[in-house]
């Protein structure tokens, strides 16, 4: 409970919440367990499918980030280059909890028309941590 308060206070103060991708992954896992009692761990295989599939809208995650997130991506509409999304290729990725959540909020809304579940976020992160392997 106390850590939630600390996290909330940090978010309110607008402080960058430095984190390791592994910590974020653990956070999504425990949140997924709370959301879904049947949850049995993240799956990079599920994450791979999720990342590369369209979910009723025009774009998949891969439309802008490329199939594995290891190479440079390209915005599907504006053509702007996007730095690699996988932390194995770009240490700035998934290194800040607030920034990570902000982009999940925006991009899940674009790709799925809803927020992603913690399971989906954890699966995707597990896939990206595979670094294209």
């Amino acid at each position: 409970m106390r850590s939630i308060f600390v996290a909330a206070a940090m978010a309110l103060a607008g402080t960058a919440q430095a984190a390791q991708p592994g910590e974020l992954l653990a956070g999504y896992e425990s949140a997924a367990r709370r959301e879904n009692p049947a949850f049995s761990g993240v799956s990079s295989t599920r994450g791979e499918q999720f990342f590369n599939a369209r979910h009723g809208n025009e774009w998949s995650c891969a439309s802008c980030h490329g199939a594995s997130g290891v190479a440079q991506g390209k915005h599907a509409k504006t053509g702007k280059t996007i730095a690699p999304l996988s932390p194995t290729a770009n240490p700035e990725r998934f290194a800040d909890a607030a920034k990570t959540e902000k982009w999940f909020r925006r991009n899940c809304n674009d790709v799925l028309g809803r927020a992603c579940t913690s399971t989906e976020k954890g699966d995707v992160l597990a896939y990206l941590l595979r670094g294209g392997k």
């Binding site: 915005h75 509409k77 504006t78 053509g79 702007k80 909020r105 925006r106 991009n107 809304n109 674009d110």
Partner: protein
């Protein structure tokens, strides 16, 4: 001849407004608005148009570009302080590419060039203006 000279001077001085990076970059603006497209120079739209865009960031040209309250306020202030003064485009979702300034500045660009896959969108400034990210839009 003289009119030609005047016209030439005009042509040089007008784009110069967008040529030199005179504006101190705003980190929040660059981070939040410069990820999916170039962080366009604020002077390319008037304040009323920026307000229209900032009011609908959850549906920003079909994408969710929503901001937290703090970033929203900071960026709104930055845009208002450095907005242009020309007439706003009339559409509900104003585009820089609809302004008379943009159309006039780009009238020499042939239609085929816009359709080049490397350009993709007229919002992709950097395809032709290599230093657009640094605020330099020289030809």
């Amino acid at each position: 001849m003289r009119t030609l000279l005047v016209a030439a001077l005009f042509a040089v001085s007008l784009p110069a407004a967008a040529d030199k990076p005179r504006l101190p970059p705003n980190p929040a603006y660059k981070a939040e608005c410069g990820s999916c497209h170039v962080a366009f120079p604020p002077k390319l739209l008037p304040s009323a148009s920026w307000q229209q865009l900032m009011a609908r960031l959850d549906r920003h040209f079909g994408s969710d570009a929503s901001l937290d309250a703090k970033a929203h306020e900071e960026i709104s202030r930055y845009l208002a302080a450095h907005a242009g003064r020309h007439d706003p485009p009339s559409s509900a979702e104003p585009r820089i590419t609809e302004t008379r300034w943009f159309i006039k500045e780009h009238d020499e660009v042939r239609a085929a060039r816009w359709k080049d896959p490397a350009v993709k969108s007229p919002a992709n400034c950097i395809a032709c203006h290599a230093r657009a990210e640094q605020g330099n839009y020289g030809d």
